[in-house]
Symmetry: C2
Subunit: 185 residues, 2 copies
DNA sequence: CGCTAGATTCACAAATTTGTGAAGTTAAGA
DNA sequence: TCTTAACTTCACAAATTTGTGAATCTAGCG
């Protein structure tokens, strides 16, 4: 039927000079980007930020310029700018500028998930504050006050667990890296 | 200055017959409800659902009818209905009907947070599915494929940890209850 | 110092979401 | 079986969010 290897449908062949990025099936990549972005949206992230993030995640270099993002996602520079503003605020993407250039480059960390989770800690702390106020308003002795106090206990438990979990992840990750080190090279 | 205890500003005195609900400062309760609801909204929940949920959480009985919710939150029955539809879908509220009545009553569980977290498990599983597809599309050997594979590893770690965490919570909770049992009664 | 590539901001239009009133549906009680 | 209280659904209006093009700002480079 076709003389192409079966994995290939439509490959990028423009922009070959500036990245060496792609030997991949663009359709499939784009499908992954959009699917994963949708799931992030379901979890509460703004659509454009989710798309930009997923796009960076699925790029070989992990670094893309505004123009590249705009082209891949088919959106305007303004949209990219807005998405990046959010993503760098929540620290999921960092902005770089090459020394002799006026183009920004946006990068995903390899540790972004770990860090995102670590930041959850603050969210929990804020929630706990509100819950404590609630217990005070309602009185510790009222049924409602007691219910909220129980909620508070759960969140406090969660926060404590989170610390341990992050610790264990670091160990797990370092172990994996060490294994890779001794086997792979 | 005042002959009232200082906690009191404006108390409900309507509806005294049907609940025995409130000996509390309505303003403060409402403030808690709205604040906590906002934080839930920030975390991605729909506004009305968040308000209904917070309202139930802050009620003495933990059970309210549609009419009560509508009155406390100043919204239409339709809005309550929509919020409840969502909340029962995600299993944060359950619907009851008193045997000889045509009024539904909506209840928060005391375990809703535990259960909400337990349900996160499914979300993680879905994400992992998408990530695996991504790795397949991009190839395990490409840098992007590798980055996504690392993400996958993190989520798998998280999912495994979640199981243990939930287990520990159940133990912690049972311990707290036992303590309460022997001390309080 | 001016020119210009590139990022950002702004006003606005399009799309989406949210809540309402009213009509529709369901089931308890006479 | 009829009546009616209570929940649900639907069409629509209001509010919010999202992305665009154009104008503006910033900083390399000649």
């Amino acid at each position: 039927m076709s003389e192409q290897p079966q994995q290939s449908a439509h490959r990028t062949d423009d922009a070959r000079q500036d990245g060496g990025e792609d030997t991949r099936d663009d359709g499939a990549v784009s499908q992954f980007v959009e699917r994963f972005a949708s799931q992030l949206v379901d979890a509460g992230m703004q659509r454009m930020s989710a798309r930009v993030f997923a796009c960076l995640l699925a790029s070989d270099s992990g670094v893309l310029t505004s123009a590249e993002l705009g082209e891949r996602l088919q959106v305007s520079p303004a949209a990219v700018s807005g998405a990046i503003r959010y993503l760098s605020q929540v620290d999921m993407v960092s902005r770089e500028r090459e020394p002799g250039s006026r183009r920004d480059r946006y990068r995903v960390h390899s540790d972004q998930w770990y860090e995102a989770l670590a930041r959850r800690d603050n969210v929990l702390t804020r929630w706990e504050g509100t819950l404590r106020e609630g217990v005070d308003s309602l009185g510790e002795d009222s049924p409602a006050g007691r219910r909220i106090a129980e909620t508070l206990i759960f969140f406090e438990f969660l926060q404590k667990e989170l610390t341990g979990l992050l610790q264990r992840w670091r160990e797990h990750r370092d172990q994996l890296r060490a294994d890779l080190e001794s086997a792979g090279r």
